[in-house]
C-alpha cells in the first residue's frame, strides 16, 4: 500500500513541477491561466495528502476557483486593448531586459537553494508548535485547533489580513470610479436559460454549504475564509448569470458588508483592550461566542470583498456610479447572506 502512496505522491510532485514550468513558459495568457487552475487543483490534492484539509479547502476554492475567474477576467480585459507592437522594438526590449532576467533567475535559484537547505535542516518528525497549541486548547473557546490559532492565539495576524483585504477592495472601487469609459463585456447572448437554470439549482446549495462551513469551523475543517470564498463564488455566479448587477448594489450596502469584519474585529479588540487585557486576549468564558461573531462578520466581508474585486472593474458605460445609485429593494442579495 505504501508503494502505491509513494507512486501517487511522486506523480503528484512531478505533475506539479511540470505544470509550474509550463505555465511560466507559456506565451498565451489564456492557456497559462488554465494551467494555473490545474496547478491549484493539484495543490489542493497535495494539501489533502499532507492531511491539511483546511488549507486544501481554501486552496481549491481560492486558488483553483476564484483566482482562476479573476485571472480569466483580467486576461480578457488586457487582451481587449492590446496594441500591436513593432517586432523590432520588441527585440531591442528583449535584449535590454536579458541581464535583469538572468539576475532575477539567479536570485530565485538562490532562494530555492535556501528553502531546500531550510527543509533539510528541520529536525525529523518534529511536531512543531502543535504541542503548544494542544496545551492551550482549554482556553481557546473552540475545539478546532486551526480556528483557535487563526482567531484566538494568532488573532492579530488575521486582523491584519482582513485589513489588507479591505484595502484591496477600496483600491478596486477607487479605480472603478475613475474609469467610466470601458464597457462591461457581459454575457447577454441568447441561450442563457441553461445557465439560469443551473444558478437557480446551485445557489441554495452554495448558501447551505457556506453556512455549514461556518458552523463546522468551530470543531472541524472550515471557517471564515472558506465560507467567505464560497459566498464570493456564489456572487460570481449571480453576476455572470446577470442575476445580480453590481452597479445596482447600493453603495452603503457594499461599504458596510466589506468593512463589517474589520470593524467588528476592531471593536472586539478595542473592547478587550479597554477592559484591561491585552489587545485580543478574549475572556475564556466568552471566547467561543466572540469567535463565532468574528467568523460570521469576516465571512460576509470576504464574500463581498471578492465580489468587489471581480465586479468593480471594468464598469458598464451606461451605469451610474456607486454614489448616484439609488438603493433598490431587489438587489440586496449580498446583504441577505
Amino acid at each position: 500500500m505504501s508503494t502505491i502512496a509513494w507512486l501517487f505522491d511522486g506523480l503528484l510532485v512531478a505533475a506539479l513541477l511540470y505544470l509550474a514550468w509550463s505555465l511560466l513558459s507559456e506565451q498565451d495568457l489564456f492557456k497559462a491561466v488554465v494551467l494555473f487552475i490545474a496547478f491549484g487543483l493539484l495543490m489542493a490534492l497535495s494539501w489533502t495528502r499532507l492531511q491539511a484539509p483546511d488549507i486544501a479547502l481554501a486552496e481549491a476554492v481560492i486558488s483553483a476557483g476564484l483566482s482562476g475567474v479573476l485571472l480569466l477576467d483580467a486576461v480578457g480585459y488586457v487582451q481587449g486593448e492590446k496594441r500591436p507592437a513593432s517586432t523590432q522594438s520588441e527585440a531591442v526590449k528583449a535584449r535590454r531586459i536579458e541581464p535583469v532576467r538572468t539576475g532575477l533567475n539567479l536570485l530565485a535559484l538562490l532562494f530555492c537553494a535556501a528553502l531546500i537547505w531550510a527543509v533539510l535542516d528541520l529536525p525529523p518528525l518534529d511536531s512543531g508548535l502543535s504541542s503548544i497549541v494542544q496545551a492551550q486548547m482549554g482556553s481557546a473557546g473552540v475545539t478546532s485547533q486551526i480556528t483557535a490559532v487563526l482567531l484566538n492565539f494568532r488573532g492579530y495576524d488575521t486582523l491584519l489580513e482582513v485589513a489588507v483585504l479591505v484595502l484591496a477592495a477600496i483600491g478596486c472601487l477607487t479605480l472603478r470610479e475613475a474609469d467610466q469609459s470601458a464597457a462591461a463585456a457581459h454575457l447577454r447572448e441568447p441561450g442563457m436559460q441553461v445557465l439560469d437554470g443551473m444558478i437557480q439549482l446551485v445557489i441554495p446549495v452554495m448558501l447551505l454549504v457556506s453556512g455549514y462551513l461556518l458552523w463546522a469551523g468551530e470543531h472541524a475543517p472550515g471557517g471564515a475564509f472558506q465560507t467567505g470564498a464560497m459566498l464570493g463564488a456564489a456572487g460570481f455566479l449571480l453576476l455572470l448569470g446577470n442575476r445580480m448587477h453590481f452597479q445596482q448594489i447600493p453603495g452603503w450596502l457594499l461599504r458596510i458588508s466589506a468593512s463589517l469584519g474589520l470593524s467588528i474585529f476592531l471593536l472586539v479588540a478595542g473592547g478587550i483592550a479597554i477592559s484591561g487585557r491585552s489587545l485580543l486576549e478574549y475572556p475564556v468564558s466568552n471566547a467561543g461566542k466572540l469567535i463565532v461573531l468574528l467568523e460570521t462578520a469576516i465571512s460576509i466581508s470576504i464574500g463581498s470583498i471578492l465580489i468587489i474585486l471581480f465586479a468593480a472593474n471594468p464598469p458598464s458605460a451606461s451605469s451610474p456610479t456607486i454614489d448616484q445609485a439609488t438603493p433598490s429593494e431587489d438587489t440586496t442579495e449580498i446583504g441577505s447572506k
Partner: protein, 110 residues
C-alpha cells in the same frame, strides 16, 4: 475480500476506463463540439461509476449521500459548462468539422 469490495473495484475500474476514453476523445477528436461530447459524456459516466464504487465503501448513510450529491453537482456543472462552451463557440462562428475527417486537415493542429 467481500462481494461489496469486489463490486467497488469493478465499478471504479469501469469508471477509470470511461475517464480514459473521454480523455482520449478530447485529445484525438477534431473540433470543439466532438471534444465536448467526449469529455462531458464519458467523464460524467466515469465519475458516476467511481462514485457508485466509493458509495459501497462509505462508512455511513450521510457519507453515501454526500458522495451522490458530489456526482449530481458535477453533472449539473459539466452539463451547463458544456452547453455554454458549445453555444459560444457556435455563436463566434467556429464551424463544426463535417464529412470524412483526416488527421492531416485537422484545423486544431497547426
Amino acid at each position: 475480500m467481500t462481494i461489496a469490495t469486489w463490486l467497488s473495484v469493478a465499478l471504479v475500474l469501469a469508471g477509470a476506463f470511461f475517464f480514459f476514453a473521454g480523455t482520449m476523445g478530447m485529445l484525438r477528436f477534431p473540433d470543439v463540439y466532438t471534444r465536448l461530447h467526449a469529455v462531458t459524456k464519458a467523464d460524467n459516466l466515469g465519475l458516476g461509476l467511481i462514485v457508485a464504487g466509493l458509495m459501497l465503501q462509505a462508512e455511513s448513510w450521510p457519507a453515501m449521500l454526500k458522495l451522490a450529491l458530489i456526482w449530481l453537482l458535477a453533472l449539473l456543472a459539466s452539463a451547463t459548462a458544456c452547453y455554454l462552451v458549445g453555444n459560444s463557440s457556435l455563436r463566434s462562428g467556429l464551424p463544426p468539422v463535417q464529412g470524412r475527417y483526416s488527421v492531416r486537415r485537422n484545423p486544431c493542429r497547426q
